[in-house]
């Protein structure tokens, strides 16, 4: 909401400059306060003194320019000034705004100078609103009230020099979406004097009944309806146009401007209907009928939902309650009779309707936060006064329909509880005066009565405490919790996840982050969002692979053909329960095929004190001849159709993987009695897997075989067609004694025999 400071200062007297008010509001009251914006004419070198009220004494056509006129203007100097002017919306006798030569105007690069215009001297300028930052209209000059004395400084009449705050209250503080609410807050925070605007309610003239029926008090707890006749629709006076412009509200016509102005003052949105367009001649507030439609005043035909609250004229809907009026019943230049609505609407319904219709307005923005129902009356009175004054109308009818207004909450407060929550003592007297400043009433027994405009938000002691705390926020000291129990460590799984990350980074892989939501998923029952944002993010993934493939492709497109990536993230398996089984996975794609990937995986397993044992397997994303599985997942070479180039990949379930990691490593003596190392080479058929040879060797020798590692596979004439020679490094070691050469030879013999028996392996020299 935009807050012109001159307007705010009309309601609160404080010495503090705008910057200081903005700063304190940002800390103690509001969600956000933008930088104070300075608009209008510059306040330098007595520039403001060059803007004066003038009285046009005479107007003549310019002798040599059809579109110009020559004016004699009294600006309180005694002699009149001659000013050449291009506007035609005034005649002699008009009171106008004048800039004298030397004035700096926001629309001019250089100071205004005295000059000849087609041979006629012009000693100043009669101002249009856009020339001093008070509007956008350039069709004519500003015409001011005739009661103003010529020579009056213009800045006493119009906010030609203005500071504007842009404030965003938190959603619980709809009371601060109003000038009065902000003035009250500023008065309390700066110990200033509050002047709430007080309008005299116009007398009813030729009183007539106003027929308002509320069928749904839940949606509309209060409806004040007032009727005005002999309404003269026209432009608003310059002061009103200027205020609305500075508040970023559009000036439309006097009656419509009054509704917006009063909303800005009080925070209670209003609506004006053209009474003659209400065919039923009355107001009925009800929910929309099935299939009902309304053309709102933005010209859109809206299909309504039976939950939408409607203002109807008894026959058909004329407004979406609280959100937007209907086009047909809109106040227009021809309007002569007006029904003013100052109502109160329930927040949740307004929010849902405005969201469903995608229609957010200044009105819905307030209603959806819960406006004080007591405000309707003050707003109605203020608006009525202005309609009567500005549009020359007679007020002929008034009705106030409600189902009983809510009581003010009373909360028992313990000042010492504030100290307990905030962590330092705040004098009870200070607490009391803070609360009273915000409009709370504090009884001697600390029963705190909440003002009506805070009744939704402050209902408990903790809410009262917050009122005190926010006021003293910049005095809160920084302390640390006094701890009696401390338990600061990672779980085993968290620790191991970090280890996996570190090992893979050390192995040259970079960590990728890919989306949990995928366009599709290989799992038949993968969980789909019923209403995804985009087709790309429609399914909760059950595998990390597609995201990683996409990430590698990004690297390839950027010209990197050696990308190796991993990701540790959750996947979401359908579980048959309401919530899916969320499991941590590690997935990786490694540049250059199976061998490199397997090396990475072996390093990872070794770091976890695990042995990587794989079985041949198959996987739809993998090369059929280069696919394997472990207890925790799969590994292999990506199928060539997935990515150009040769890529190894794996994906493992971390819980399964970590469940095998030993809790602790117990010392084993591997130093005192050195290992006996032997190499063997055997020739076997090509299709015998080396893993099977190693397994058989381990089985034959038992745990004394500490290490069995294939270090060479040779194929060639010497071995024979269809055969390969496999060289295995063996290390025998006991932690109790040094093995003799004879023992080592015997173990080796057992292994060779076993390999011969199981695989027909022939020992080679």
């Amino acid at each position: 909401m935009r807050v012109p400071m001159s307007w705010l200062r009309e309601y609160v007297t404080v010495d503090a400059p705008a910057e200081e008010i903005a700063r304190r509001l940002a800390i103690c009251a509001l969600d956000e306060v933008e930088r104070v914006r300075e608009v209008g004419v510059l306040d330098v070198d007595d520039n403001l003194g060059r803007f004066l009220v003038g009285k046009v004494l005479a107007v003549e056509r310019h002798p040599s320019a059809d579109r110009l006129r020559v004016c004699q203007v009294d600006v309180g100097e005694g002699d009149a000034r001659q000013i050449v002017c291009g506007a035609w919306n005034f005649e002699a006798g008009a009171t106008v705004a004048v800039a004298l030569p030397g004035a700096l105007l926001p629309v001019l690069e250089a100071p205004l100078d005295e000059r000849e215009l087609r041979g006629q001297r012009s000693r100043g300028m009669i101002l249009a609103e856009d020339e001093v930052g008070l509007g956008e209209d350039h069709a004519g000059i500003m015409v001011l009230p005739d009661s103003l004395e010529p020579g009056t400084p213009l800045d006493q009449v119009l906010p030609i020099r203005e500071e504007v705050l842009d404030v965003t209250p938190t959603p619980n503080r709809v009371d601060l979406l109003s000038m009065v609410g902000l003035a009250r807050e500023v008065a309390a925070l700066f110990d200033g004097e509050l002047h709430v605007p007080e309008a005299d309610d116009p007398e009813l003239v030729d009183a007539e009944p106003v027929d308002v029926t509320v069928e749904d008090f839940e949606g509309c707890p209060r409806y004040v309806g007032r009727v005005f006749r002999d309404v003269a629709i026209g432009p608003s006076p310059q002061w009103l146009r200027s205020r609305l412009y500075l508040a970023e509200l559009r000036s439309i016509s006097n009656v419509v401007d009054v509704t917006n102005y009063v909303m800005h003052v009080w925070g209670n949105p209003l609506h004006a209907f053209d009474l003659t367009r209400l065919s039923g001649g009355r107001i009925v507030v009800r929910r929309a009928r099935p299939g009902e439609e309304l053309r709102t005043l933005d010209g859109t035909l809206r299909r309504l939902h039976p939950d939408d609250l409607m203002i109807t004229d008894g026959d058909r809907s004329v407004a979406l309650a609280g959100i937007m009026g209907g086009e047909e019943s809109e106040v227009s230049d021809e309007t002569g009779e007006v029904l003013l609505e100052a109502a109160n609407f329930e927040p949740v319904g307004i929010f849902k309707s405005s969201e469903r219709l995608g229609l957010r307005t200044a009105g819905s923005n307030r209603w959806e936060k819960g406006v004080d129902p007591y405000l309707a009356e003050q707003a109605a009175v203020h608006a009525s006064r202005m309609i009567v004054d500005l549009a020359g109308a007679r007020m002929t009818g008034h009705v106030d329909v409600h189902s009983g207004l809510p009581e003010r909450p009373v909360v028992r407060h313990r000042p010492e509880r504030t100290d307990h929550v905030v962590g330092f003592p705040i004098d009870p007297g200070e607490q009391c005066s803070i609360l009273e400043g915000f409009g709370f009433e504090v009884a001697p027994n600390w029963d705190v009565s909440v003002p009506t405009w805070r009744a939704r938000d402050v209902t408990r002691e903790i809410d009262v405490i917050e009122e005190v705390v926010r006021t003293v926020l910049d005095r809160v000291p920084f302390t640390m919790p006094l701890r009696r129990h401390v338990k600061g460590h990672l779980t085993k799984e968290q620790r191991l996840r970090r280890l996996v990350e570190d090992v893979l980074v050390g192995a040259g892989l970079s960590e990728a982050y890919t989306w949990s939501l995928a366009p599709s998923d290989p799992h038949r029952d993968a969980i789909r969002l019923p209403d995804p944002m985009t087709a790309d993010q429609a399914v909760l993934r059950t595998t990390l692979l597609p995201g990683l493939v996409e990430a590698v492709r990004t690297g390839l497109d950027a010209g990197f053909d050696d990308v190796s990536l991993f990701e540790i993230a959750r996947i979401y398996l359908p579980s048959g329960e309401p919530l899916p089984d969320e499991r941590w996975r590690v997935g990786a794609i490694v540049h250059d095929g199976y061998d490199v990937m397997k090396g990475v995986l072996e390093t990872l397993y070794a770091a976890l004190h695990l042995e990587l044992r794989v079985r041949r397997s198959s996987h739809p994303s993998l090369h059929p001849g280069k696919a394997a599985e472990t207890d925790a997942g799969w590994l292999g070479e990506l199928h060539p159709t997935l990515l150009e180039g040769v890529w190894g990949a794996f994906e493992l379930d971390l819980e399964t993987l970590f469940s095998q990691v030993p809790e602790r490593i117990v010392y084993e003596d591997v130093i005192t009695y050195p290992a006996a190392r032997q190499d063997i080479a055997v020739a076997v058929d090509e299709d015998v897997e080396v893993g099977a040879l190693v397994d058989a060797a381990r089985e034959a020798a038992g745990p004394i075989l500490r290490e069995a590692r294939v270090f060479d596979v040779y194929r060639g004439e010497q071995v024979g067609a269809g055969k390969k020679s496999v060289a295995i490094h063996l290390a025998f070691q006991s932690s109790e004694r040094t093995l003799t050469d004879e023992e080592a030879a015997e173990l080796r013999g057992k292994i060779v025999a076993a390999l011969a028996e199981r695989f027909g392996a022939e020992p080679r020299a």
Partner: protein
């Protein structure tokens, strides 16, 4: 053979040897199988002569070894004095991977709180509306409850919109004191742009104990912010509103660009908003069965991406999900 003459000749030959070949020849001549000394030793019959000759042999061996070592050293010095590399040549490339920036920040935040004696909780990402909204005191009709802002799986199930549901689950599972942080992915129906991605990361902190105060919260966040952004930073706390905390505050840190004097980055306020926090609303305690009179607590929930933006100047959050190697390798 006269041992004295032999020794004199041998030591002279050792001294004269000027290369490893020379010293090899000296060794063969005086200590070889056919040397006079070896032949004499073979002939020895009495103990005394034997001792004398063996002592001589040891002295010669020592002298020859010493000379050989010296000559080797000279040879090595000559050799290394000739070997040179261009020390400015690049080394052999060794693959180096990179942790994602968000992981680095996640660990840093975890470590800060581990140091303060907190534990790390891995919360669920798919949550019931009960834990994501009701238990967190979101009123009916709160915008976040709308399918326009939250990704629903069905009427009762959502992708969590903040890490806060883990607060409720933790408090349900244990009695106070509670000191936890919970970090992970959250989801909102935000159209991706420079400052929004529909998936993002939050860190949630929760401390519940007897006597926890707003001052404790501000002290803890001040410590966290200064650790993350630098000791020279100033912090400020402003009022705010969240359904699950009362009072609610927002933490700000002095602008890293202008140090508080005002610039476009901080929108001329001198301060940068980091995230929300507050005292745990007593309704949450009632929800999990804690005594709200006895216990107080604080909670905060911040975006890790926000820290990445503020500290590392990431201009567009979508970049963090693109996995372009040029970006990954920067951090």
């Amino acid at each position: 053979m006269d041992p004295e003459t032999l020794e004199k000749d041998a030591l002279a030959a050792v001294a004269a040897a000027s290369s490893l070949d020379d010293i090899d020849r000296v060794r063969v001549e005086f200590l070889g199988r056919k040397s006079a000394l070896k032949l004499a030793l073979r002939e020895v019959r009495d103990r005394e002569t034997g001792m004398t000759l063996n002592a001589l042999r040891e002295r010669l061996e020592t002298a020859i070894d010493a000379r050989e070592n010296d000559l080797r050293r000279v040879e090595l010095d000559r050799q290394v004095s000739e070997e040179r590399v261009d020390v400015t040549m690049p080394g052999t490339p060794f693959p180096r991977g990179h942790l994602h920036l968000i992981t680095q920040i996640r660990r840093e935040v975890e470590d800060i709180f581990l140091g303060l004696g907190y534990t790390v909780v891995d919360g669920r990402e798919v949550e019931t509306t009960h834990y994501n909204f009701d238990g967190l005191n979101f009123p009916q009709g709160h915008p976040t409850r709308s399918p326009l802002h939250t990704l629903f799986l069905d009427q009762q199930t959502v992708l969590r919109t903040e890490t806060s549901p883990s607060q409720i689950r933790t408090m349900e599972a244990q009695e106070p004191p509670v000191y936890i942080v919970s970090l992970g992915r959250c989801y909102r129906r935000d159209t991706p742009d420079a400052t929004h991605t529909p998936t993002f990361h939050q860190v949630e902190g929760l401390a519940v104990d007897e006597g926890i105060s707003l001052a404790d919260l501000e002290g803890t966040l001040d410590y966290l912010l200064k650790t993350l952004f630098g000791e020279e930073r100033r912090t400020q706390f402003t009022t705010n509103y969240f359904p699950f905390t009362e009072p609610s505050i927002e933490a700000r840190v002095s602008c890293h660009i202008c140090d508080g004097s005002g610039c476009p980055v901080c929108r001329h306020s001198g301060w940068i908003e980091v995230g929300g926090a507050g005292m745990v609303d007593p309704n949450l305690f009632e929800f999990v069965g804690y005594d709200p009179e006895r216990y107080t607590g604080f909670a905060f929930g911040w975006g890790l991406e926000r820290i990445a933006v503020l500290r590392h100047g990431i201009p567009d959050l979508r970049e963090l999900w693109r996995n372009d190697p040029r970006l990954l390798r920067q951090f």
